[in-house]
């Protein structure tokens, strides 16, 4: 079955997620869909699976117009999906989960024997080691992933969407999956494969479509004619407008130092020095381990080796509270809605949360006037647009929400600020404002660790750039703020690391 996406657009209150997007998934082909975070891949998948409705444009199956009002419609039309988030019922058996859509049985009764037989046939192809009678809650994450794939296969989908199916499984399991994909392809299934792993995409796909900022950068180009380098540049791209940030602030003493740090997330041998009044960029593709490193620094992840020094003293940071109170380190989460803000609370209380302790009176009361006065300068400095400080944060635009989540750390006056993807899904104008603000924070003396997948942003802001890949630092250079030089340095660091890894992988395969 051929699935065509024709001129589809989708706008959310704060951002245009898809802008006149067209592409076509043909039967018997593996079609890779690539793009960085916020490029619009998820929105596109949600439209194709009936979770969202497009604002404009249409979907066609074998040339016929189709409309999906719910996931059931998409399933009925033969579009199956393995989503990124787990969609299993934990206390049900593996077999029952696989056949949840259409359990075999008669007159309303379930036939468990038939369930287990059919589930076993499906799992046979993927991982015969999984017991179809086992409760899903007892499986490993990788096994759950396999179960989800088996579940999609059970539907005999003619179009199969796989959203990062290999993100949490081993190479061995991935190999098995690729064999299944090859078989399905031979049977004429149209397979859409979303992945951030370049190797995989180049190995198993026939065509590739690249999205960036909701627009199609390359539509269904044959993978044979696509180089790794070109793919990376298409994904990363560059911004038109760049904030005017004068670099070269006077660098001070070392504020934060990591020596041979290893973490429970899988980092190893991480060395890093962050100076006062410096912006240190941490660049890497999605999944490189940057956010996880920041989280480990503030104690929201376990450090398993090496040493951290704050200032000139060794530090052991056990939780984010200690990071803030004792070491004056703040972390601006990339997930502002999930972790950065309490959406149903006012601007005032969202910003003041970090300083309640400081402004509380002896009776632990927080006088509203004091709170308001403490917050007002931050709101003015960031030019947060609102009717009133008591307005709830969920009524603000994405850009203003991001400003609020930054403002709370400015109010806390931390010495070290870890800022994670500050401008994802934010319009260009606010983006520039935020860039100028981050530069100002550093100029005022704070040490800033900036995590970003946006290369233009990185080259505009950072004084030095560390390149991360696969949970290790693979390159470091001083940023001269010239785009071509910076992007060249970053890409060659990533390519070199990829090549090394591939080399190692091949050697291991031979041995």
């Amino acid at each position: 079955m051929r699935l065509s996406i024709v001129n589809v657009s989708k706008t959310f209150p704060s951002v245009k997620a898809l802008d006149d997007v067209s592409m076509e998934f043909a039967p018997g082909e593996v079609h890779a869909l690539m793009g960085e975070n916020g490029a619009g891949k998820s929105t596109l998948l949600k439209i194709v699976t009936g979770l969202y409705r497009p604002d404009a444009g249409l979907l066609k199956l074998d040339g016929e117009l189709v409309e999906f009002f719910s996931p059931r419609d998409a399933l009925a039309a033969g579009i199956g999906a393995v989503h990124q988030e787990r969609n299993l019922v934990p206390r049900f058996s593996v077999g029952e989960n696989i056949l949840l859509e259409h359990p075999p049985g008669r007159r309303g009764f379930i036939d468990y024997g038939a369930i287990y037989d059919r589930a076993r046939v499906l799992l046979e192809l993927l991982d015969p080691g999984i017991d179809v009678r086992a409760e899903v809650a007892t499986l490993s994450v990788a096994q759950m992933q396999i179960v989800e794939i088996a579940k999609a296969l059970s539907l005999n989908a003619r179009v199969l969407l796989l959203d990062e199916p290999t993100a949490s499984i081993t190479d061995h399991e991935a190999e098995a999956l690729f064999k299944v994909i090859a078989r399905l392809k031979a049977e004429g299934v149209a397979i859409v494969f979303v992945s951030h792993k370049l190797d995989e995409v180049l190995t198993i796909s026939d065509r590739v479509t690249v999205l960036r900022d909701g627009r199609v950068m390359a539509s269904g180009e044959a993978i044979a004619e696509m180089s790794r380098r070109r793919l990376v540049s298409l994904m990363i791209g560059r911004e038109e407008r760049i904030a005017d940030v004068a670099g070269g602030a006077k660098q001070g003493k070392v504020a934060l130092e990591l020596r041979e740090i290893a973490t429970s997330y899988g980092h190893s041998g991480i060395n890093l020095r962050l100076h006062e009044a410096e912006i240190l960029g941490l660049y890497g593709l999605v999944g490189a381990g940057r956010s996880e490193l920041a989280r480990s620094i503030i104690g929201d992840g376990r450090i398993t080796g090496g040493a951290i020094c704050v200032g000139d003293r060794p530090a052991r940071i056990r939780n984010p509270n200690e990071a803030l109170r004792r070491h004056r380190i703040g972390y601006v989460s990339e997930d502002r809605k999930g972790e950065g803000l309490v959406l149903s609370h006012s601007i005032v209380s969202n910003i003041a949360v970090t300083i309640w302790r400081r402004i509380a009176t002896r009776l632990w009361l927080i006088p509203p006037v004091v709170e308001r006065n403490a917050v007002t300068p931050q709101v003015q400095r960031l030019a947060i647009k609102s009717f009133s400080l008591d307005q709830t944060v969920d009524t603000l635009s994405g850009g203003n929400q991001q400003k609020v989540s930054l403002a709370k750390w400015l109010a806390a006056k931390t010495d070290i600020l870890l800022i994670d993807e500050p401008t994802v899904g934010i319009d260009i104008k606010t983006k520039v404002e935020l860039h100028e603000l981050i530069a100002q924070i550093a100029r005022d003396g704070a040490a800033v660790l900036l995590i970003s997948s946006d290369m233009a942003e990185m080259i505009t802001l950072a004084d030095r750039i560390l390149v991360m890949h696969n949970f290790a630092v693979v390159g470091e250079f001083v940023n001269d703020r010239i785009y071509e030089n910076g992007s060249e340095a970053i890409m060659s660091a990533i390519h070199a690391a990829e090549k090394d890894r591939k080399h190692l992988h091949d050697r291991a395969a031979i041995a």
Partner: protein
């Protein structure tokens, strides 16, 4: 040995052990415990409570709570009494209508929850108050005594130590088990409780399952009310007013997941029996009844704590 390990890994195994050890202790402490009559009294009080626990359990299965179980029970009880005393309806017809009223009450809860999108906790808090209001408004807190003699006698009758009132919950329990574990509707209901998004993506209508769960809950509350009338010999407006704690304590001590998606019918039954046993022991030992409630509260806290510890241990392995 393998048989024993399988037994010990069940959530209800601990409760079964507590029940056996507790009974032995009670028999040791009080000679009147192991009499036919005492056991009959204990089981009779457990009969209504079993149905009350099931009524809450089915709503917990979809990850919601039903605060209106007792209020709906009270309303069904007085309407049942009115049908018998004021309208003179034949007993079987009155029972049938009483159960239907329960189902309709639950259906209303489910419908309001799904239509408004408001949490069932709040909806049933409100409808519970409304049901009680209708109850007291109609009866002005006066009970209906015109209950047929044979129905009251049924509430007192027994075979050896087994009260006649125990049969309805004993019949309901396997029916519930078959529904939840063997039928498609039952599996869908549990799937919605276990992972609503996954269920919906699999083409299951979560709203329909939420309404079904509330309707069954209402029907079971109605059945509990009918039993309570038979047990007390009168349709008293206060029926149901003390059901709240037991309705949660039974399923939760029995291992039903508060988050939904998993129930243990046997666990809930054993939990109700353990609670009845503890109440019985305290009464035999002439402990002030107020302290019985204290002990019950403590028991809920301890078992929930133990279950959480167990889950944590299992997560480690």
């Amino acid at each position: 040995m393998i048989g024993f390990r399988k037994f010990a890994s069940q959530e209800w195994a601990g409760l079964a052990a507590i029940f056996v050890l507790g009974s032995a202790l009670a028999a040791f402490l009080s000679p009147s415990f192991l009499t036919e009559y005492n056991i009959y009294v204990m089981l009779r009080s457990a009969s209504v409570e079993l149905l009350v626990a099931f009524s809450q359990m089915i709503v917990l299965a979809i990850g919601q709570m039903n605060l209106a179980v007792g209020a709906l029970g009270g309303l069904v009880a007085v309407l049942f009494g009115a049908m018998l005393q004021l309208l003179g309806l034949p007993l079987p017809l009155a029972i049938l209508i009483a159960l239907l009223i329960g189902i309709v009450g639950g259906f209303i809860n489910g419908l309001l929850t799904t239509r408004t999108g408001i949490n069932g906790f709040i909806i049933t808090l409100a409808t519970g108050s409304a049901f009680t209001g209708i109850n007291l408004g109609l009866t002005e807190s006066r009970p209906f005594h015109g209950i047929p003699v044979e129905f009251v006698a049924l509430g007192d009758s027994r075979w050896s130590f087994v009260p006649a009132l125990l049969w309805p919950p004993l019949i309901v329990a396997p029916l519930l088990a078959i529904f939840l574990y063997r039928t498609k509707s039952g599996r869908k209901l549990l799937a919605v409780g276990g992972n609503m998004r996954a269920a919906e993506l699999s083409g299951i209508s979560a709203n329909a399952m939420i309404i079904v769960a509330h309707a069954i809950s209402g029907g079971l509350a109605g059945l509990a009310a009918v039993l309570a009338v038979s047990q007390l010999g009168a349709a008293q407006p206060e029926i149901g007013s003390t059901w709240l704690l037991i309705s949660f304590a039974g399923p939760i001590i029995g291992g039903t997941a508060l988050a939904g998606g998993y129930v243990s019918i046997l666990g809930a039954m054993l939990a109700v029996l353990v609670i009845a046993l503890i109440e019985n022991m305290l009464v035999l030992m002439k402990v002030d009844p107020y302290w019985v409630r204290f002990a019950l509260g403590g028991l809920v806290l301890v078992t929930v704590g133990v279950n959480r510890w167990r889950a944590h241990q299992m997560g480690r392995n």
